[in-house]
Amino acid sequence: MKDFEFHRPSTLAEAVALMKHKPEAKLLSGGQSLLPVLKLELAEPSDLISLAGIKELTEIRADGDRLAIGALVTHAQVNESPVVHKIVPALAALAGWIGDAQVRNRGTIGGSIAHADPAADYPAALVALGATIATDRRKIAAEDFFKGLFETALERDEIVTAVHIPAAKRAAYEKFHHRASKFAVVGVMVAETATGIRVAVTGAAPSVFRVPAMEAALAKSFKPEALAGIGVPAEDLMSDTEASADYRAHLVGVMAKRAVQSAMR
């Protein structure tokens, strides 16, 4: 790991100002993605700006029937939060499947989505639930937020502050995890909210994506059988030592059916 300057601002404004003035700076949240990257020297930021001192980012609250989760809320807190359990229980369950206990105790929702790992779990949930991501300067629909492999709509110095999630009538996440990393090889979130039914897939492609054909079929009949014969093309999917693209394509179908089954319970 190379040397860097460490900052720990106590307000969002201070953090934003620091980011503006340090073009090679990186934001540090739970550090579960950034620290391994630093250790492997895949990134060599001049400055690390820790968000840990910013109290306003640590809250989970109900905002009517919507959920507002501060960017610094850990996966473990999402997993254990009675508010999350009440409004979107599927999200609480998803958070409980991220990484391992150590990762869940340190890793944060804001850090995870800003990192935009293609195999992270949250993107599937946020897209399927029609969440909105709030930053220091604007609000971005989840679908517009995730742009590609480790790529988001965030500007270089933009800071995620919270995630706003509407209540789901029913929703479930099914994950086929990588046996080594525990990341999603394929994770499928199926959610029915006030705006309709969405199916979002993480892990399979460079970025989260929706499956409109599955959504249409489920709108007609919310049953696993409704998805019979509906697949995703393997060409757009990733291949690695754990799963080839066509196996991933197959798993999207299996996990989607299982998610529907779970959501019906």
């Binding site: 086929f176 046996r179 080594a180 990393s181 030592t241 754990e242 196996y247 197959h250 299996v254």
Partner: protein, 791 residues
């Protein structure tokens, strides 16, 4: 002393106190005064000519003490890393034994081959400098995988090794085997591959070399399973410094699994660099470096044929194996696919004829050498897959087919057709024990219950044998070993009766500090709290061969017994004097010397005290003191064996295999500490299941290791494994004084074929007949798809 502590007592491990408190002293924990640090720049290419090495920028980094290359190694005339075992080809010619300079000279031959060594004040400075070294690579075609290296027209790893063949060796009788196949009613064939695995001990390798100029003396702290072997190789082959000027300390070592047997270049280089820079030099591998530079295990491609008569009795076995050696010959590499593999191909079966050919192959990969089981897992996997395959082809019960062909208890000693003579065993007893443990009769009902959940269930069996405590020295010497394989012990009784044992074996997780203390308790009656086991320091222990091949108790423990025999005998003479009796009338039992048939007794501690305070003492005929050495050279290998049974559940939609149950019954000989023996079985099973379902070091066609991190190299985890049912049936080894055989490797040897046989049993109704290790979800899913299309 609370309760029994001798043979058979599950006393808790003495060493665990320091481990559980985080107070172990590992090589990387040792920081010497004025410590400096080494980092290696390693080849990024599997095969490349090395042109100019520009290290100017690296040398300019503040704190850098030295930047060393292959040219410096050559100028210093350091010896190449030697191979410890010479195997000859069928035609009598020696194996191709290529040079192995400590730093690359001219051509890098695998990814991770060390090219430049940086020594600096801090690891950070050394790393920074390493990043600034510029190397001109002229990339050459690579033989990256075993399957590629044996193809016609494959890239050449070594010009001297035609078709990349290191040696072409054989064992057994081709004529009688041909005759057996001619008269066979059935011949069954199977191609099997044994997947390459990375050892992944929890503690990565490390070495800290210190040259003391005032005394012209070298000390090396290293992650070694056998410090004396490392010292011998450094003295005789690589550093060229005599043994009395070399001290090798292998302190606490966090797992070895074979990978820390070998003498590695880094051990030599830190000693050499220490003399050059005048400071101690420490190197600690990070995990990525471990993946690229530790010797890997397995990696065989084989064809096997089994001949049976009309009654399904085995008539003959024919095996052809390609074994990957990697780019260089590691310390024991040639022995693994020959004398530790093909000699085991009779398994627990009565085979009238066997013939095996083994071609060792160079590839542009890191070396392949002994890994938990070393050759024996490969033999057991091939044979047990083949026998279960035969049962399916012949439509007979795989258990009954085995029962029919197992060596019977009254056939021992049993001479196999592949050199080994098994002294004792009872394979029927372990088979029955394992079947009971898994409730074999209830399997059909369990299968039904699994099917009701929409899954598949299979039961797999493996009846295995292994050979431990490789020996005797004269035999292994005749087979090409360049070392002896005896073991040494010193038993030092202190004046007040406590005991220190110096052993040549090395404990890196095995629990010797407890089990060996139990031997002393058994023989001398001394509480294990009053026994200290010293190992791992060449200045403190007698010349021993270290720990591998499950040899420590069978060979090292026997050396301790021999030394104890001398202690007991000497004590008799002292006791006879003290008790004014004839030596022949003295018996030693339960820690007391007694005049037979009387109540005249001297406790062991009293005799020890007399030996050191010889006021009233037979000084004319007995020397003072109570300390004895012994060297023990075994008469034969020991032969543990048993039955491993595995049940799996498979999700046909995803291909995920879940281990539902594992029941094993081993015969590892006399059990000294049942808890430690169970623990060894558990660890071996985890690694064996790891190989069967999870682990594979995958090289691509260019020789790049594509999954050299824990993000994508799948290690087995506790949550992947069920509670193991472990049983022992004891037949005592006939030729060592304790009756022990060895347990360190049985899990890794016995269980992989049982797992795959279970997977194939589960998939059989779908028409799947073959699957290779590791049986990953995708592979299982694909096999199902393939079978569906075939139907």
């Amino acid at each position: 002393m609370s309760g029994p502590q001798g043979i058979g007592a599950s006393v808790k491990r003495k060493e665990d106190r320091r481990f559980l408190l985080g107070k172990g002293q590992y090589t990387d924990d040792i920081i010497l005064p004025n410590q400096s640090y080494a980092v290696f720049v390693r080849s990024q290419h599997a095969h490349a000519k090395i042109g100019k090495i520009d290290s100017a920028a690296a040398k300019a980094v503040p704190g850098v003490l030295a930047v060393l290359t292959g040219d410096d190694v050559a100028a210093a005339q350091l010896g190449g890393i030697p191979c410890g075992w010479l195997v000859k080809s069928k035609d009598g010619s020696n194996m191709v034994e290529p040079p192995h300079p400590a730093l690359v000279q001219g051509v890098a031959r695998h990814v991770g081959d060390p090219i430049v060594m940086i020594v600096a004040d801090s690891k950070a400075a050394a790393k920074a400098a390493a990043g600034l070294v510029e190397i001109d690579y002229d990339v050459l075609p690579a033989a990256g995988r075993l399957a590629d290296a044996i193809k016609p027209g494959a890239a050449t790893v070594w010009p001297d090794a035609k078709n990349n063949i290191c040696f072409d060796w054989h064992i057994g009788d081709p004529a009688t085997t041909d005759a057996a196949f001619k008269k066979a009613a059935h011949v069954v064939e199977l191609d099997v591959t044994n997947n390459r695995v990375a050892p992944n001990a929890m503690e990565p390798r490390a070495a800290n070399g210190n040259y003391d100029g005032a005394n012209d003396h070298f000390t090396l702290y290293t992650t070694s399973q056998n410090p004396h072997l490392t010292r011998l190789l450094l003295a005789a082959f690589t550093l060229h410094v005599p043994e009395h000027k070399l001290r090798i300390i292998a302190p606490d070592v966090g797992g070895g699994f074979g990978s820390k047997i070998f003498h590695y270049a880094e051990e030599l280089l830190v000693l050499w660099a220490s003399k050059r820079v005048g400071r101690p030099v420490k190197w600690t591998a990070d995990r990525s470096e471990a993946f690229l530079s530790d010797a890997h295990g397995r990696d065989h491609i084989s064809k096997a044929q089994l001949a049976l008569d009309a009654n399904h009795k085995f008539l003959g076995l024919r095996v052809h194996t390609y074994a990957n050696m990697g780019a260089y010959l590691s310390t024991f590499a040639p022995a693994v696919p020959t004398y530790l593999y093909a000699t085991l191909l009779s398994g627990p079966y009565d085979f009238p004829a066997i013939y095996a050919e083994v071609k060792a192959v160079f590839t542009n990969t890191v070396a392949v050498d002994a890994y938990r089981g070393a050759g024996r897992p490969e033999a057991s996997y091939l044979l047990e897959r083949l026998v279960s395959h035969a049962a399916r082809q012949l439509k007979v019960d795989p258990i009954e087919l085995r029962r029919k062909n197992l060596i019977k208890a009254d056939q021992f000693p049993y001479q196999t057709q592949v050199a080994l003579q098994y002294d004792i065993g009872n394979y029927q007893a372990t088979l029955d024990m394992a079947l009971d443990a898994i409730d074999y009769k209830g399997f059909a009902a369990r299968r039904k219950a699994t099917e009701a959940k929409g899954k598949l269930r299979g039961l797999g069996i493996s009846t295995y044998i292994e050979a431990c405590g490789i020996a005797p020295s004269a035999l292994v010497g005749a087979l090409g070993a360049r070392a002896g394989l005896y073991e040494a012990a010193t038993v030092r009784v202190h004046p007040t009766g406590s005991v220190t044992v110096m052993t040549g074996t090395h404990s890196h997780g095995q629990g010797h500090e407890t089990a060996f203390a139990q031997l002393i308790n058994e023989r001398l009656g001394v509480a294990i709290e009053n026994v200290e086991i010293v190992h791992g320091d060449t200045d403190r222990i007698p010349f021993g061969m270290g720990t591998y091949g499950s040899r420590s108790l069978a060979v090292g423990g026997s050396a301790i017994y021999k030394a104890v025999d001398k202690i007991v005998d000497k004590g008799k003479k002292i006791a006879a004097h003290l008790l004014e009796a004839n030596v022949s009338d003295i018996e030693f039992k339960d820690g007391n010397y007694r005049v037979v048939g009387t109540d005249r007794v001297k406790a062991f501690g009293e005799v020890a005290f007399a030996a050191y305070v010889p006021h009233n003492y037979p000084i004319d005929s007995v020397e003072p003191g109570l300390e004895e050495n012994a060297f023990y050279d075994p008469k034969n290998f020991t032969f543990p064996g048993g039955t491993h049974l595995v049940e799996v559940e498979i999700d046909p939609d995803t291909g995920v295999v879940e281990i539902a149950d594992v029941a094993i019954a081993d015969d590892v000989g006399v059990v000294v500490n049942p808890m430690i023996v169970d623990g060894q079985a558990h660890g071996g099973l985890a690694q064996g299941i790891g190989q069967a379902l999870f682990e594979e070091a995958i090289y691509d066609e260019n020789g790049q290791l594509v999954n050299g991190t824990f993000l994508n190299y799948v290690m087995p985890r506790a949550a992947d494994l069920p509670n193991f049912k472990v049983g022992n049936h004891v037949t005592a080894c006939t030729h060592n004084p304790i009756g022990v055989k060895g347990v360190g490797e049985v899990g890794a040897i016995g269980v992989p074929p049982a797992v795959i046989n279970a997977v194939l049993d589960a998939l059989a109704p779908l028409g799947v007949t073959d699957i290779s290790m590791p049986a990953t979800p995708e592979k299982v899913w694909r096999a199902i798809q393939h079978a569906k299309r075939g139907l």
